[in-house]
Symmetry: C2
Subunit: 499 residues, 2 copies
């Protein structure tokens, strides 16, 4: 495969071009390997597949760091080949999830904005090899990332060696969409100068000493993007409640007419909420989030949204095509930043981001579980939800009121794992309604959440628990019956239904 001079601009690196198998040979047993990729987008594919093939035949186990979730070519093949010892900080792949929940892989579930600085501080060991998907390599060795930035800047900076997957399936026009700013370590860190969503504060490539580039692998394999389900009735209702709430906040003078920058988690509910904004009265919307999905293109196309900042573009298959066909339009309206900046508490609090994330379950006092199934099994990880929630202008959690065809209530007496505490959650919304928890004590919250958010099938049982807890524990700050707090979960595990 030949590579054009636009893709590989430093000709002296030409002799580093090799096959994925040759590049994979740079990986030794026990190494810490760090890759590009944030939500299945902009992650390396060929070299991980080649590493997996080696691992099937020889003793080769690595620790894997990424930006966030990556495609099956990386998390899937490596975990199925038993090639992973440890994995940080987020995943969504079924194979790796099964390996994590059967003790084959140690998973460390970190806030996405914390990881890059923990690496730079030396808290997570020395990175041996970084594998980065790129659109081009500059004359100075600088790397032009693909559809995600994620942790690639810190990985390239801190790794001993760098392998580049130069991917020609991405158009060269991606160059210029990225904005790479790297904070210094304390005590020399300065204010991050970002004050507007559409502002650029860094360069448009990842600086890299060309001597560190140990291999270049050419490919045109596309990201395994995920299809989005059509908006269902539940998500639509959640979206309607949310938009009504936001309209009311504007009326009350607590939000400007064009709102404040929006953050939205990934998935079908998030997609529905964003789609709902298309038909809303809001204009001049801004998006300051992690992941840019199809609905954001719709909002940008409609003119309702004027700018979108994230750390990755992760559309559906059709969305990707649309993105590339209109890239000149989107280049003016989309900025991709390192996750250290997209998820940075300093920026999120300064801009006043409205954070909308999904919960696995919420309890009557407003604690949120976003990671664990029945308290023990890892789903995906906390991702950026903590970065945004804790620092948001308004923090919102959405969930359907029930799961598993109504056998599970997503509003429970006590969540089986806490990722967001009562101190951080301002609004809970289900298809049943929206609970505004601002300024409420735990007991006030319980009444509001049960009344507004719980499914009718579970409302009485939740009130019964709450009243019984008051009877038993007294009118304490947070009444609970510790013996029964998880009885809904244990009943589900035994009988397949919560009540």
């Amino acid at each position: 495969m030949n590579i054009s001079k636009e893709r590989l601009r430093l000709q002296s690196l030409k002799d580093k071009i090799m096959t994925a198998e040759e590049a994979a040979n740079l990986i030794k047993d026990g190494m810490i390997v760090a890759t590009s990729g944030f939500t299945p987008s902009g992650y390396p594919k060929e070299v991980p597949i080649a590493i997996s093939k080696r691992a099937e035949k020889e003793n080769l186990k690595i620790t894997l760091y990424t930006g966030a979730s990556v495609g099956d070519e990386l998390d899937g093949t490596l975990s199925r080949a038993n090639a992973l010892i440890k994995r940080i900080p987020y995943q969504t792949n079924e194979s790796i999830r099964n390996a994590i929940n059967s003790g084959k892989i140690e998973f460390v579930d970190l806030h996405l904005s914390h990881m890059p600085q923990m690496i730079r501080y030396g808290f997570l060991g020395k990175i041996d090899v970084a594998i980065i998907e790129a659109v081009a390599i500059r004359e100075d060795g600088g790397v032009v990332p693909a559809t995600s930035v994620g942790n690639s800047p810190v990985f390239v900076e801190m790794a001993e060696k760098v392998i580049i997957e130069l991917n020609e399936s991405h158009p060269l026009e991606l160059e210029g969409m990225h904005d790479i700013y790297t904070p210094k370590n304390p005590p020399n860190r300065k204010p991050i100068p970002l004050t507007k969503v559409d502002q650029r504060i860094g360069g448009n490539y990842i600086p890299c000493n060309p001597d560190k580039i140990a291999a270049i692998v050419l490919t045109n394999r596309k990201d395994s993007v995920r299809p989005l389900a059509p908006v269902d009735e539940t998500s639509k209702k959640i979206s309607e409640h949310l938009i009504e709430f936001l309209e009311n906040e504007v009326k009350k003078g607590r939000l400007p007419k064009n709102l404040l920058p929006l953050q939205s988690g990934v998935g079908n509910i998030a997609n529905a909420v964003l789609k709902g904004l298309l038909d809303s009265p809001f204009e001049g919307l801004e998006f300051y989030s992690e992941v840019i999905q199809d609905a954001v293109f719709d909002l940008l196309d409609s003119g309702k949204m004027v700018i979108a900042s994230g750390t990755s573009v992760t559309p559906s298959e059709e969305g990707l095509e649309r993105f590339y066909q209109n890239i000149d339009f989107y280049r003016e309206r989309i900025i991709l930043r390192p996750q250290e900046i997209s998820n940075n508490p300093e920026i999120i609090r300064r801009l006043g981001v409205i954070a909308m994330n999904t919960a696995i379950e919420v309890d009557i006092y407003g604690h949120v579980n976003s990671t664990h199934i029945m308290g023990t099994k890892m789903m995906n990880g906390i991702g950026g939800s903590g970065d945004f929630t804790r620092n948001a202008y308004i923090s919102i959690f959405a969930t359907p009121s029930t799961a598993k065809n109504g056998l599970i209530s997503c509003i429970v007496p006590m969540v089986s794992h806490v990722d967001h505490t009562e101190h951080d959650v301002m609004v809970v919304v289900t298809e049943q309604g929206l609970a505004d928890l601002r300024g409420l004590s735990p007991k006030e919250r319980a009444k509001e959440i049960i009344k507004k958010c719980a499914h009718p099938d579970f409302k009485d049982a939740l009130m019964e628990y709450f009243n019984k807890a008051i009877e038993k524990a007294g009118l304490t700050h947070t009444p609970h019956i510790l013996e029964e707090a998880f009885s809904w979960h244990t009943k589900f595990l035994k009988e397949g239904r919560m009540i």
Copy 2:
């Protein structure tokens, strides 16, 4: 009582001088009243006592906002007089705690850095009256705060009326120690320009439209400061483990020789840790915290610490005397800021603060409970521990390994309330030892915490729970037996011992 022209510099306000009883008459039933005060320091005393007296005779109930905890003259008298409907954001007074845990007062437990902006955003209602303890009132109406800043700037800004308690027990030399900076609301907020602990970024008084000042009450009643217990053996060992850990971080190159700015919670363990630093090899220390207590004076006196920034000075009785006798020395070395700045995520993360806070209990997976006794009763509140922990360079939680003469293990299978999640806690230390959790998965953390931190009396039982959980739940991400997760707590409630 006469007042000097140095204390009341705007002579036109002289006719606003009145008795506490007269000032208390400005308070109407149902009002939101917001006062100065942060840890029993710099809070108003005379007017609250007068309000309490009214409330004993008539129907008068208010909502009370403060900076953090305040003295008995405020939280104590008002709660004993049944004068409080709701209280935000933190308290340490026994009377109010009892009222909170018997349903007489609704308490909202907020991150201390979140409250001021929530007020400015309009999320916590309109403040009717602010009562602020002051050292002096300037010619322009500006208020010179006393020994704490807390939320006073935002309270004065947002309140309809302001009552000033002009307290002559505080020397005028306090003027100039404060540094008042107020961030704008999004979307107009700018980077907070603070990049060094010793930097001043604002004015030295709280701006106030003199027309808002409805009453001035003269007093010389001192703060009810709290005595500190002498350093006990347990706290001393915790301090030793911590200092050894910090020394090792310096050796490994993960911390500079003079460390990074230290934050320390309040109380005896915190005091012991700071005292331990006196005999440590560290020089040029900086303190970026909330509360400045006696041990900080020792460190400043010794020259080991060069600067201390907080939102309040809360010494013991002897400490207060020492502070005032040497105020010229301390004025050069202490800066008091609004809690919106002392606890600001932006600044804490930028400076790389080392956060040291105390836990009520920690579980084997690294979740921390810092607010609830046996899951239901409020102790004090989360205070600033969340602001610092989540944004720290290194986040540390300290607790004795046992409580109640060894009947309670402070390391438990599952904490009965989560205030700091596994995603936020880097180090746990007890008198038994220190567990460094950075980069560890939940199961790795469990082994480390049980081995290093648990008391020998509880070690086997904890390992037994952990192993049994693996047996029952399998090697999932976070093995738990939900039926037994709180069995230690329920046993204690029934039998007075955890195992």
